[in-house]
């Protein structure tokens, strides 16, 4: 029992240490991305100084996709009876929340890019509309998670909602190829393996992708921990309430 407890405790310490390393790497990586992106990389021929927004905008969208992918996968595994585990539900919720933050930042940085290049803060372009819909869908998912109910019921309905919401993710990615769009094609074209930037610009963009992905891992892990604490708090609250009611009933007898 004691050795089991020590193993759990040492495992927790190791995971905390790993999480700290990820956090520090993310912080250093983001700092370097900002430094390279703002002061070291050259201006672009066509976009001039505005090209510097490139080092943050695509990584925001990329991280949002990863976050929703993780929420989708965890929800799928949760719904599968053989792998059903509340930890997967927590992971889905944590990942989706971080995804919403990054989708909000994708929309914000896209809008900041759109004003000087297209002349408008917002337009009902297919990509922008699909991204805004993605944001709203996952906000709805997070709201659904807060609707009271039995823990398992909440987890099951949230998992179904996560699967439904994920349908919009490929629509967002392929919308620039499927419809005529104001938005340029993806900077990193996964299907054709093309990269539309080169040299220090490409390295800075790559560093941006890696750093913000690490930031996603760190934020999701912290959000997961918070969800685990909240679950524990709710469980303890429930057992305390049951004990109190029992004590009340015994005092009447």
């Amino acid at each position: 029992m004691i050795s089991g407890h020590m193993t759990t405790s040492s495992r927790r310490m190791a995971s905390s240490r790993l999480l700290n390393v990820v956090g520090i790497l993310a912080l250093v990586g983001v700092a370097f991305t900002v430094w390279l992106g703002l002061w070291i990389t050259p201006n672009a021929e066509y976009f001039g100084n505005l090209v510097r927004l490139l080092y943050i905008h695509p990584p925001m969208a990329w991280v949002a996709f990863i976050a929703y992918g993780m929420a989708f996968l965890s929800s799928l595994l949760y719904l599968w009876p053989r792998t059903r585990d509340l930890r997967l539900d927590r992971l889905a919720g944590a990942s989706a929340e971080v995804g919403v933050v990054f989708t909000g930042l994708t929309l914000a940085t896209g809008s900041i890019w759109g004003r000087p290049t297209w002349g408008v803060w917002w337009t009902w372009d297919p990509l922008l509309t699909a991204t805004a819909l993605l944001f709203v869908l996952y906000l709805g998912y997070l709201a659904l998670r807060r609707v009271p109910g039995e823990r398992e019921t909440v987890a099951r309905r949230s998992a179904i909602a996560a699967l439904v919401a994920f349908v919009d993710v490929p629509i967002v990615y392929f919308s620039v190829s499927w419809w005529r769009s104001l938005h340029q094609p993806p900077t990193v074209d996964l299907s054709g393996r093309h990269l539309y930037v080169h040299g220090s610009m490409a390295w800075t963009l790559l560093l941006g992708f890696v750093s913000f992905t690490l930031a996603y891992v760190w934020l999701t892990a912290r959000r997961y921990r918070l969800a685990a604490l909240s679950d524990r708090e709710a469980e303890e609250g429930l057992s305390r309430a049951i004990d109190e009611r029992r004590a009340e009933a015994e005092s009447f007898v």
Partner: protein
Amino acid sequence: MSPYVEAGYLVVLVSLSSYAISLFARERAARRRLRPGNRSEDSGMKSE
């Protein structure tokens, strides 16, 4: 430097830092509530 570029970086850095700080604060508050000594006085607090 274009003000749009500065605004873009500022929005990203401020938002992510604020979110990270809020997670820290909420985690600390949850841990404090779960500490055995705080149970009775915090019993009315709503869980997250």
